[in-house]
């Protein structure tokens, strides 16, 4: 199993959209995927269903209101994809949790996911790397850094790398899966320039080959509460972007090595 978090200093860069669509793509590619929403705003749940605000989830687990992850996880139409919503943050916050216990509770969550046969655990975080997001990132094997392709946003790249460098100096084993350029605008020269500059500046292993463009279909999908691939019967081309990102993640994180087994080198098309 790999645990993968998203992190960004800035809000509104498309973390939640990325998490939902990426989780869906990974699940479609056959990986048992658990998407965990650690953002108190509950963006994942709110993107998918109106009723998730009332459901228990991550924060209920964190403060010990529910110790069985299985009771908190929501099934989806794909057996390979499950979701752990943020849960009732306010109720959990009133009850409180011990800050020192957060890393250990996160480790417990990772173990529970492993026991449930999860291949890929994706944790969506709140913007700004607050204390919770920091703990979540530190608990993970990899972090993806979505960066909005506009000047102000990318200027925070060194700051983010510095923060991650600090995590590692503190002993956390989290590795950078890559920076992912999001909301790249075809019509904006500045956006294009930012993307080109970052690509020229960073080594290829630090930047995803695939960008995420700024498209209305992401908004539409969010409004309808579905991953973009489920927007229409025949998914729009942009849905395949997330399959490409999923493929890159498999390569960058070694997920393929973990999943490949003897006898699975290839499959027959006809029988």
């Amino acid at each position: 199993m790999i645990a993968l978090a998203t992190a960004s200093q800035k809000g509104g860069v498309g973390k939640t959209t990325l998490c939902i669509n990426l989780a869906y793509s990974l699940a479609r590619r056959g990986w048992n995927t658990l998407l965990v929403d650690t953002d108190p705003q509950g963006g994942v749940g709110l993107s998918l269903a109106r009723s998730t605000r009332a459901k228990t989830g991550f924060y209920d687990y964190l403060c010990g209101l529910e110790r069985d992850v299985g009771r908190l996880v929501l099934a989806t139409r794909l057996p390979e994809l499950q979701i752990l919503p943020a849960g009732q943050y306010d109720a959990a916050a009133r009850r409180g949790w011990s800050p020192q216990e957060v890393p250990a509770r996160l480790t417990d969550l990772l173990r529970a996911a492993e026991l449930r046969g999860v291949d890929c655990l994706i944790l969506d975080t709140a913007a700004g790397l607050n204390a919770m997001s920091e703990s979540v990132v530190k608990a993970c094997d990899y972090v993806i850094l979505p960066q909005q392709a506009e000047p102000l946003a990318v200027r925070s790249v060194p700051h983010m790398l510095e923060t991650l460098s600090r995590f590692r100096s503190e002993g956390a084993g989290v590795k950078v899966a890559g920076i992912l350029l999001t909301m790249v605008s075809v019509d904006s020269q500045v956006s294009q320039k930012v993307a080109a500059e970052l690509r020229a500046l960073l080594p290829p292993d630090m930047l995803f080959d695939q960008n995420v463009p700024r498209l209305n279909s992401f908004l539409e999908a969010s409004a309808m509460g579905v991953p973009v691939a489920l927007l229409k019967k025949n998914p729009p081309p942009e849905a395949l972007l997330f399959d490409q990102i999923a493929a890159e993640i498999e390569r960058r994180t070694g997920l393929l090595d973990e999943g490949d087994a003897p006898g699975h080198a290839h499959a027959s098309l006809l029988d």
Binding site: G30, W31, P79, P103, E114, L161, R166, V176, D243
Partner: protein, 261 residues
Amino acid sequence: MPQATLMQVSWIDANEVDALLGHLRDPAPAAQAQEPSALGTGWGKESAAAEATAETSLPSARSHPLSHHSDLQSFREKLQALQSHAIQAGFLAPSEDEETATPLVIALPTVKPNPPMPEPFPTAPPAAEAATPQREASWGSSVEERFSSFARWVRTRFPDAGLYIVGDQGEMLWGHGTVQQSLVQTTIAAWLALKRMGSTHALETTPVLRQPMADGRHLLAIACPTRLGLLHLALTRALPITDDGVPELRTRLIRSIDLGA
């Protein structure tokens, strides 16, 4: 990597980023890992009450917060060892990877073509390089579609049988609207309750229920561990299904759910 220049738009210093990337590529300095209290988790000063809570927490919660990676690694190894022991002892069925897989119908992949994106967007590696994990299957089919596919197979194998699939909490997942639905559901719910009360059921590798029904048909229920959890496959038929048919039914349902086959 270009030499240090302030970028025109992004204002990023290439040298600074280069140095930071160097830090990020270094192996995590485990020896330098600090004690939990000095980790700077950003939670502020821990309260005495919190410390007291930590003392009464679960054993795992008292472990070193930053030892989770090695903890998890050893936990994974232990888990794998336990699984192999259980498989060798016959308590667990080998996973699909370990079985000799029979050929399956393959759905045409849906992710092969590169997305037709506008030119400025670079594309990911070609499909051959970033290939889908080569497991059999029509990944992406919904639970309903997988049940439906299994039901089609059952119809070819036992055309006269009524098919029901019941969840581990007794909920009817397949077979709604049939005359016998409630009778089957009640029977399986009672069986589940009985199984939970007993202590020996955990040792059964393939729990099976056989029961004659009031209308003279025979009910066969088989517990099937799938990635959706424990499902109970139930068939009602005028003639009882022999023991020889049980493994095939069980394997087929598991494959349908777990592999979309």
